[in-house]
Subunit: 157 residues, 2 copies
DNA sequence: TATTGTTATACTCTATAACTATA
DNA sequence: TATAGTTATAGAGTATAACAATA
């Protein structure tokens, strides 16, 4: 016979109380992301790097001369949403918008020396914060997690 | 000697171009969540169920007589943010706020029959949509993913 | 006609602070 | 004093639609 459960007012015909949400990938993704992004902000917030600004700078550093349209596509957001992000990075002198002679609609984005340095510092801080936050996961588990998340991303929506 | 890379304008001293973001758990969590939640909205959007409303209804159905404060704590959001969600669910007659005699500050939340039925339908639809969206993952991979995400959640912020 | 960068606008989600009525 | 529910407010983040310049 099954033991009486102690969980607060468990109900009806489920195997585990509250199991519905716990078994959904979407719900668990959201909850996990909230924890990791909160830690990200705690780590880099004082440097004025939100996740979006950090991600955009990362790609500009790693793909100098990228355009805003290309960057938006890589980040999975709309072109219009990128304007404020680039404005901020340019205002802080971490990158420049450079006219491209052969197509005058386009402006290539290139990081400044200061941008490259600030990015390297931020990247190292983020890596350190993730390593500490996820220290309950073995290196293998962390790699497995990344592999599974990338597999979802390949779904390409 | 290393072969020349073909990736669009790869830069400097990284092993893989653009590898920085790809190796961060936070970035991959975010990208994966965007895909899953967009599919959620496509599936349940016409029924007027956003992720938040769905999650709240789920817990009210599974924990009848729960209070708003308890619910907020379980969902990891602020009490104030729950008011609009409960207003909407009550307005759609999917749950009721019931006064609790022994503590007149509190209102117990109980699902209506219609609320239970609507939730069961929505839950089944979400499960089906997740199964289809994540069909590239084996059952074992999906379980591993849930286990790892729950492990991050246990970090408890 | 199509595309790039841009602006204007609105909507979702969430947090903070303060109020009220109870305890 | 402390807590439950509530309101007001503000700030991210994102999307859609339209526009000017250019292709």
């Amino acid at each position: 016979m099954a033991a009486q459960r102690k969980i607060p007012t468990p109900s009806d015909d489920e195997q585990r109380a509250g199991a519905d949400l716990e078994d959904l990938v979407g719900y668990n993704l959201k909850r996990a992301y909230v924890i990791v992004s909160a830690d990200f902000r705690r780590t880099l917030g004082m440097d004025g790097f939100g996740p979006r600004v950090f991600s955009a700078l990362s790609l500009v550093v790693q793909y100098p001369n990228i355009t805003q349209s290309e960057l938006a596509r890589m980040l999975g957001i709309e072109r219009s949403g990128l304007v404020a992000i680039i404005d901020e990075l340019e205002g802080r002198k971490l990158l420049k918008r450079i006219p491209v002679p052969r197509d005058r609609r386009v402006q290539a984005l290139i990081p400044t020396d200061e941008g490259r340095a600030a990015y390297a510092r931020a990247r190292d801080a983020v890596r350190a914060h993730e390593a500490a936050l996820l220290s309950d996961l073995t290196a293998e588990e962390r790699e497995t997690l990344l592999t599974l998340l990338r597999k979802i991303r390949q779904t390409e929506d």
